[in-house]
Symmetry: C2
Subunit: 206 residues, 2 copies
């Protein structure tokens, strides 16, 4: 898959392509808020964005493609992966950045909640959510790779599962037990994950 297929509209930053991408993704978010995932269509997104529908089909191909790109734009631009030189610090900083993102950015929180809700009924939304978090956790696992490189963790550590365990209590409280998320929650999740990781709880074997 070419670079442009992985990152639709990224060529010619600042040009018409980039502006179209912004307009289309803004339209996706607005449509999600008004009609929900079930009512999201390429045609309505194109009309709202003021671009030809063929442009939307060519760049994003499917509705899932649009939502994944929206998740990517909102998620990755706001959540850098820390590299402070120690696993304990990196896990704490990453967990805190997740909490801070959702506390401070109601738009991103609404997007995630919308897609989580849609995913319970709609396989396309489920696939989009799965793809987003699979990619996100795989990239965040660089934190674990750094720790392995420093000799803090065995090379057999499953970085994706460690990152999932770190994030899980935050999403659980936000979406399931429905209590306010806060920095103490992030710090406890980071500490628990750090201790468990040092003891080999995320050793994936081989």
């Amino acid at each position: 898959m070419s670079e442009s297929a992985n990152n639709p509209g990224a060529q010619r930053p600042g040009g018409r392509t980039a502006r179209n991408r912004e307009a289309v993704l803004d339209a996706v978010f607005a449509e999600l808020g008004e009609t929900g995932y079930a009512g999201l269509t390429m045609e309505n997104v194109a009309r709202r964005a003021g671009v030809h529908v063929t442009t939307v089909y060519r760049r994003w191909r499917t509705v899932e493609g649009l939502v994944v790109d929206l998740l990517t734009r909102l998620g990755t631009t706001e959540l850098p992966f820390p590299d402070a030189g120690s696993l304990a610090d990196d896990l704490r900083d990453f967990a805190r950045s997740i909490v801070t993102l959702y506390v401070e950015n109601a738009t991103i929180r609404a997007l995630i909640e919308t897609v989580v809700a849609a995913a319970t009924k709609n396989p396309r939304a489920s696939d989009a959510l799965h793809a987003f978090f699979a990619d996100r956790n795989r990239r965040a696992a660089v934190i674990v790779e750094h720790a392995v490189g420093r000799g803090e963790l065995p090379s057999t550590t499953d970085g994706v599962e460690l990152i999932a365990a770190l994030a899980a209590p935050i999403y659980y409280r936000m979406l399931v037990s429905r209590r306010p998320i806060d920095i103490p929650l992030a710090d406890r999740a980071a500490n628990a994950t750090y201790i468990a990781a040092l003891s080999g709880a995320f050793d994936g074997g081989a």
Copy 2:
């Protein structure tokens, strides 16, 4: 709060009250599936159940009351809290029972997913979900109390947060990263939580 208020319709088991409760809760589940949380009304539930609407108002008072009682009926009857004599075993058995419940019982999984989805848009559904998991995790914390009693954990351990940390990776995978849940996931969550707990990661202070 009286026992009957905590457990509506539980008096006279096997009698008309118990039968009415079953019919009403069956109707709640059917209505949820057809119209979703937003369309759930006391009147439609009563009509479908074939009981007087005043009976529904008197026993459950609100739509949230109906959903919490449905969650309670489905959740607590199927998920006993283990007491095997060791914290490691109890955490593993409890995590496995959560996975098994959702894998084997599509009805319960659909109910939880429906209310999680509704909670992202509807404060009443959010309150119902919060109340259900607050009660559930508080009761499951008996596992931690037993461990404290055996001297396995300090008495300052926050049992509710420990149970939330145990369950979180399962709900995260089921609802957020949208991958199949399985016994290895349960075992890893249990092992990680156990190790972290022994190191004081869930020490609530005081």
